[in-house]
C-alpha cells in the first residue's frame, strides 16, 4: 500500500501542537499521528546522545529519572540497513553509564556492556560507538550500567530495510512498554532481599479461601506451604509499586496513537520494563504478528500475546471502524496494566477492561510432569515436602555434574517440559486466540542448515527466599567460568528452568534459532522467555567473535547474579 506523505505530515503538525511535554520525544507524545520517515527523530550518520538526570512525572507525582537527551523514553533512533552508524554518547551523570544496542549485530567492542565489551563511559566522558548497520527491524537500546535502565534509560530503534519491506503498512507507531517506580531500584532490590514477598499484595488468604476467590483448596495450599513455595509468586515486583507506562505515559494519561479507518497500522511493541512481563491485547482488534525481536516471521493472526522483557513484537492491525480501541498491556501477575488508545481523533477513548483474575501457578510451573501427577489426587500431597519421600523438589542427582547445588538452588525441576507450544502464564484459559512460541516461523529460511555439532545444557537456578539467582547454581560474582564457543560452531543449547519464575534470557551479539518444531524456518531471537519449570532449546551459530553478555533480562535477577559471559574464539578468522 502507498504511503500518503501529505496526510502524515498534516497529522504530524497537529500532533506537534497538541503535545506540550518537553520530556517526551515527538513519537512518544500522545496524539502521535505515527512515525513517518519525515518526522523529526534522531537519524543519519552521526547521532549525539547525552545521558543525564531528569525529573519524571506520572500520576501527579514527580520522581528522579536517568534519561537520554532528557526524555523518557529516550529518542527514537531511526537507522537504515547498510548505513554506517556513529553514535556519540556523553555522560553527564556522576556515575558511569553505557548504552547497549539491544538486538543489533555489531563488533563486540561496540556492544556497550561495561566489563565485557568496553570499560563503560565515565562521568563527563564521551564514547563514540561506530558500527555498520547490518539488519532491519525493531530494536531498542538501554543502559547496561547498574540499574539505570530501571530509571528510564531506554529507547527504541527502528532500522528501515535496504530492500522493500515485506510488511505492508500505511502508518506505524512505536509502543515502548515499561514499569516505573518512585522507589529507587536499589531500594526495591534491598526490600526483595529482606522480604521476598514484599511487593506481592495478591497472595492467597483465608478470606480468599472462604469466599472461593483464590480458586485453591486448603489441601492445595497445604501442599504449596509444605514446599515453602508461593503459587502467587508470579512477578517479583508488582503494581503495588510500579506504574506501567506506554511511551512514558501512565494509564490515566492514556497515550493515544492516531489512525484513519481502513489503514494498516504497524505497531512496533517493545518491552523495556525492568521486571514486568506483559500480556498485550486490543479488544475488538485482531493483531497479525509480523516480526519478533526484529526478525520477520510468517504473519500469524492472534488476539493476545505475551511479551517478555526485552522482546519486541511488530503487529499489524487494521481498524475499519471510526472508533477508539484500547491497547491493554496487562502485567502478567494482573497487578496493574499499561494502557494506551488507538483512535481516529485525539480525545477519544474506548472501554478499559478490568484486570483479570490473578493466575495460580501449578505443579507444572515447578517442573513436574502433569501426566505423572495424574494419579496423585488420592495421594498425600503433604508427602511432597523434603525428606518425606514422594516428589523431591531438590534432587541433586538431577543436576549435571558442573552445577553447584548449594544455598542458591532452592529447587531442581524434576521433569522440565518443553512448554513452547503452551499458552503462557495467565493466558491458559482465556477465550480467545493466544500466541504461543510454536506459532513463530521465520519468514526466510535459516541460513545455517548444519546440524548442531554439540549440545550444551544451562540450568536457570535461584532461591526465591533469599532472592539469589544464577546459572548452574552460581552467581556471576562467584568467578564463574565463561560459556565458551568456537567461532562458527553450531551448538544446541538447552536452558532448563529450575525455578518457578519466568526468565527472559538474552544473548548479546547473536540471534539464536528457537527449536520450536519448524526446522529450516526456526524463528531467530535475541531473547527467549523460559517458562517456570520449563526448558527451551535453541540452535546457535557462534559467528560473532568476541566476548558477549548472556543474562536474564529481569534486571534484578541479573543484578542478583543471573549473568555470564559468552566467549567466541578465535577473534581473527586467519588464526582459526
Amino acid at each position: 500500500m502507498k504511503l500518503d506523505r501529505r496526510t502524515l505530515l498534516q497529522a504530524a503538525g497537529g500532533a506537534g501542537l497538541a503535545s506540550l511535554s518537553s520530556l517526551l520525544p515527538a513519537w512518544a507524545q500522545s496524539g502521535s499521528a505515527g512515525i513517518a520517515p519525515t518526522l523529526p527523530t534522531l537519524s543519519g550518520a552521526d547521532i549525539a546522545l547525552s545521558v543525564g538526570h531528569t525529573p519524571f512525572s506520572v500520576g501527579g507525582r514527580t520522581g528522579h529519572a536517568v534519561t537520554v537527551n532528557g526524555t523518557l523514553p529516550a529518542p527514537l533512533l531511526r537507522l537504515r540497513e547498510g548505513q554506517p552508524a556513529r553514535l556519540s554518547v556523553t555522560n553527564t551523570l556522576d556515575e558511569d553509564t553505557s548504552i547497549h544496542w539491544h538486538g543489533l549485530l555489531l563488533p563486540f567492542q561496540m556492544d556497550g556492556v561495561p566489563g565485557v565489551s568496553f570499560p563503560g563511559i565515565r562521568p563527563r566522558e564521551t564514547f563514540v560507538y561506530e558500527f555498520p548497520v547490518r539488519q532491519a527491524g525493531t530494536f531498542w537500546y538501554h543502559s547496561h550500567s547498574g540499574l539505570q535502565e530501571a530509571m528510564g534509560h531506554y529507547g527504541p530503534i527502528i532500522i528501515d530495510p535496504a530492500t522493500p519491506d515485506p510488511v505492508a503498512y500505511d502508518r506505524e507507531h512505536v509502543l515502548i512498554l515499561s514499569d516505573w517506580s518512585f522507589l529507587h531500584p536499589h531500594e526495591i532490590l534491598r526490600r526483595l532481599k529482606a522480604s521476598p514477598g514484599y511487593f506481592n499484595q495478591q497472595r492467597t488468604t483465608v478470606a480468599g479461601l472462604l469466599s472461593g476467590e483464590d480458586r485453591m483448596s486448603a489441601e492445595e495450599r497445604r501442599m504449596w506451604a509444605g514446599m515453602r513455595m508461593d503459587p502467587r509468586d508470579i512477578l517479583d515486583v508488582s503494581g503495588s509499586t510500579y506504574t506501567y507506562l506506554v511511551n512514558g505515559h501512565g494509564p490515566a494519561e492514556n497515550w493515544t496513537g492516531l489512525f484513519r479507518p481502513g489503514e494498516r497500522v504497524r505497531l512496533r511493541i517493545i518491552n523495556a520494563a525492568a521486571m514486568t512481563i506483559f500480556n498485550v491485547r486490543i479488544p475488538g482488534l485482531p493483531m497479525t504478528i509480523v516480526q519478533a525481536d526484529g526478525e520477520n516471521v510468517r504473519p500469524v493472526e492472534t488476539d493476545e500475546f505475551q511479551i517478555s522483557i526485552a522482546e519486541t513484537y511488530d503487529v499489524i492491525v487494521q481498524p475499519t471502524e471510526d472508533r477508539a480501541f484500547t491497547i491493554v498491556a496487562e502485567a502478567m501477575d494482573r497487578s496493574g496494566m499499561g494502557r494506551a488508545t488507538l483512535a481516529p481523533r485525539l480525545g477519544m477513548s474506548a472501554e478499559v477492561p478490568p484486570l483479570r483474575q490473578i493466575p495460580n501457578l501449578t505443579m507444572r510451573d515447578m517442573g513436574m510432569d502433569m501426566g505423572s501427577m495424574a494419579g496423585m489426587s488420592g495421594m498425600d500431597h503433604g508427602g511432597m515436602d523434603h525428606g518425606s519421600g514422594g516428589m523431591n523438589m531438590r534432587d541433586p542427582s538431577l543436576a549435571p555434574p558442573n552445577m553447584a547445588v548449594g544455598v542458591g538452588v532452592q529447587t531442581i525441576s524434576p521433569m522440565p517440559e518443553n512448554r513452547l507450544s503452551e499458552r503462557p502464564t495467565g493466558l491458559e484459559t482465556v477465550d480467545h486466540r493466544v500466541l504461543v512460541y510454536t506459532d513463530l516461523v521465520a519468514l526466510t529460511p535459516n541460513r545455517d542448515t548444519r546440524a548442531p555439532s554439540r549440545t550444551m545444557q544451562i540450568h536457570l537456578t535461584g532461591n526465591m527466599e533469599r532472592f539469589m539467582w544464577g546459572f548452574d547454581g552460581r552467581r556471576f560474582s562467584e568467578l564463574v567460568e565463561p560459556i565458551r564457543f568456537a567461532r562458527n560452531e553450531r551448538v544446541r543449547v538447552t536452558l532448563i528452568n529450575d525455578t518457578m519464575m519466568s526468565h527472559p534470557i538474552h544473548l548479546h551479539g547473536h540471534f539464536f534459532e528457537l527449536v520450536n518444531g519448524h526446522p529450516g524456518h526456526q524463528p531467530l531471537k535475541h531473547t527467549v522467555n523460559v517458562a517456570p519449570g520449563g526448558r527451551v532449546s535453541f540452535d546457535l551459530t557462534a559467528d560473532n567473535p568476541g566476548d558477549w553478555a548472556f543474562h536474564c533480562h529481569m534486571l534484578m535477577h541479573m543484578h542478583a547474579g543471573m549473568f555470564n559471559v559468552v566467549t567466541v574464539r578465535p577473534l581473527d578468522e586467519a588464526a582459526s
Binding site: 558511569d96 556492556v113 492467597t204 515453602r228 542427582s397 527466599e465 519448524h518 532449546s537 567473535p545 568476541g546
Partner: protein
Amino acid sequence: MRVIATALAPILLTIAPAAAQDHSAHTQTPPAQVTPAQTPDPHAGHDMQMPTDMQTPSVSASPGRGPADAADRYFDPAVMARAREQLRVENGEVITHAVILDRLEATFDDGDEGYAWDVQGWYGGDINRFWWKSEGEGAFDGDVEHAELQLLYSRAITPYFDLQGGVRQTYRPEGDRTDLVLGVQGLAPYWFEVDGALFISNEGEVTARAQAEYDLRLTQRLILQPRAEVSLSAEEIPEFAMGAGVSNVLAGARLRYEITRSFAPYVGVEWSGAVGDTRDLIKANGDDPDATRVVLGVRALF
C-alpha cells in the same frame, strides 16, 4: 533436651542432605518419539528428540583459542580489569541490609503496664552476614527487667537456614551475663519462621531458647501471627530462678494490620508460664509463675 530436639526438628529435617531423600516414586513417562517437523504437526514445538544431554551434558573443555578477555585488544587492560571487577560485583555480590522490628509493644497485665521489644537486623551478602538481635522488657514505672543484645556472624548453610554464632550480653537486675551463642535461624516447611540457639555463659551455665512464628494471612493486610517460645536450662540457676530442663513456655497471638509492608500496628495477647522446677522455684519465692498480657504495638521493616 527432648523439647529442643522437637523444636529443632524441622530445621534438622531441612538440613538433612537432600541426597538421602527417596525419589523412587519418580515414574518418568518417556516422551513419545516424534520425528521433528512438519508444520501442522500437533506436537510442533516439542523438540521431542528429548536431548540426550538431559543427564550427561557435553561440556567442551575450551573451544576456540584466543585471549582470555577480548576487550583488552581495544582498551587499556588495566582499565578493563577494573571494569570487570565492577561487573562481577554488580552481578551477584549484592551487599545489603535490613532492620526488622518484629515487636515493639506496650504490655498490660492486671494493672501492671510495661513494654517489650524484639528487633533484629543484618548487613552483608547472600551467604555471609553480620546479624544482630536485641530483645528485652521492663515496667513503665520500674527498671528494665531484662535486656539483651546478640552480635552474630551468620552464614547461609542451606536454601532456607542460616547458622549463627557470636556473643550475647544480657542485663538483668539479678545479674549480667555474657554468653557464647550458637544458633540456627530460618524458614521451616509450612512457612514457620524458626530461631533456636544454645547459650554458654561466662559462669558456665548452658541454656537454650527456641521460637517459632507463623503468618496467617486473613486478608492481604490483616495478618494473625501465632508465636511460641521455649526456654531451657541444663542445670538449676537459682540466681535467675531457673530450674533444670524446660524452664519457661510462652505462647501468643498478634493481629496486625499492614498499612504498608513496612509498618503494621498490632494488638495481641500473650501467655507465659514457668514449668517444672522453675515453677517450683518461682512459687517458693512467692511470685506468680504464670502471666497473661494484652499487648499493643507496631511491627516495622526498615
